[in-house]
Symmetry: D2
Subunit: 136 residues, 4 copies
């Protein structure tokens, strides 16, 4: 994914408004991977015998998948860059990833999908925080 | 849309964590309508002869459509409510709607789709702000 | 929603490739409403005590919400109209709505959210079928 | 991306309804990559000086991004598998990828983003066709 993201970044016909190209590519990649992982984790939770104990996890996964997908799309656009929107979306993505990582970590010992998903969420939370820090 | 949104809210089997039911329904409705309007406005801009002067408008429309759709989905979920995520997403949606309203207003005198879209964005910006205020 | 959808349709600067304007507006409206209703139904199912018996319903709701949202967006665009893509997406949306209506109807006697959701899915299934018929 | 997709597939607690695991992983990966590439290509086209000649390309990119994202999500779910919905969505995704590849190929000599995007679309078109063939 990083390869695809990076090769498309290089074809953008104008400049990237001073954005850190590597941090941007890492954050976009983390967003798309986290969106996929959270969608799969929600579905795996749904097929567990103990689904009744995983309903908060499923909901958190669904929110995180939606915000990560939207953040990945917005970071893929550079035309008419608006720093306020980018910052607010990155803050929302960071909050959703933190919340989903916290929740999935509680089930990581019992469910491998939650363990992998918690890792993807932490990676995306960190990538959002680092991109945010580079914007200021 | 408000009717649909409200009738589904009434069927939720648990309580709504003290959320203001009317402000919630108004915000959800505004999000879905704004997502549709921004998608249509981006496409209408794309078919204008002067598209080269509307590229920032198109990009802002696309971002706003994505965030509004995600916010509308997240507000449609109540299981395992997380106030931090809800607040951060509403802030992002408010910022995107403000940005899109500001941009579309500049073209409102010339393009009716931008005039209508600016109104939908302002309505959604206000609905997000009012729901946010009611959370605190 | 129909009002918003219709007023944006009227501002489109070019012609609508011979599409039946009313059937188009009805289908777009049904798609956005069904997407919201399915998202809310999935979440309401998740909060039911008998969630373990509703996992197929939740999954079907999530798929239907995704396809309806995508179909609503695609129908909101008219620039560079491609009949093959429109037809294939309408077929997919019709199949997802049929599948979700069939599933929700089985729980309609016990859960009001499933009863309302089944109606929204049938309405959208019909609207897709009628728009498809008008294309041929 | 394939690595992430595959490791989540392995954690699914039930069986995968006889789906070809490798074709499934390839198709999911192609869908997520194509969704990102089409989103970036639409934005790069928007920043080209000759944007007025790329409006059909932008619209086709936006549709393809939406369908690929939805298809990637649906393929990430296995609970309550419905072959009719899966087939119809794969057909729609194949049609959108074909349409976008055809369009981007026309600009591939002039715009590197269109060249890369055409490749991503063809890869996804093929992956959908192969997964469809394996279902029958």
């Amino acid at each position: 994914m990083t390869h695809h993201v990076t090769s498309m970044l290089e074809t953008y016909p104008k400049d990237l408004d001073g954005l850190d190209r590597q941090k941007l590519a890492e954050c976009m990649t983390a967003c798309f991977e986290c969106a996929q992982t959270c969608t799969a984790c929600a579905d795996a939770c749904l097929s567990e015998g103990m689904v009744a104990e995983l309903t908060t996890c499923i909901r958190t996964n669904l929110d995180c998948a939606d915000i990560c997908a939207t953040t990945g799309r917005i970071l893929s656009r550079h035309t008419g860059y608006n720093a306020d929107v980018t910052r607010a979306v990155l803050e929302a993505c960071r909050a959703a990833c933190k919340s989903c990582a916290d929740e999935c970590e509680q089930h990581a010992g019992m469910h491998e999908h939650c363990r992998i998903c918690a890792e993807a969420c932490r990676r995306c939370e960190t990538a959002c925080a680092e991109l945010l820090a580079s914007l200021e």
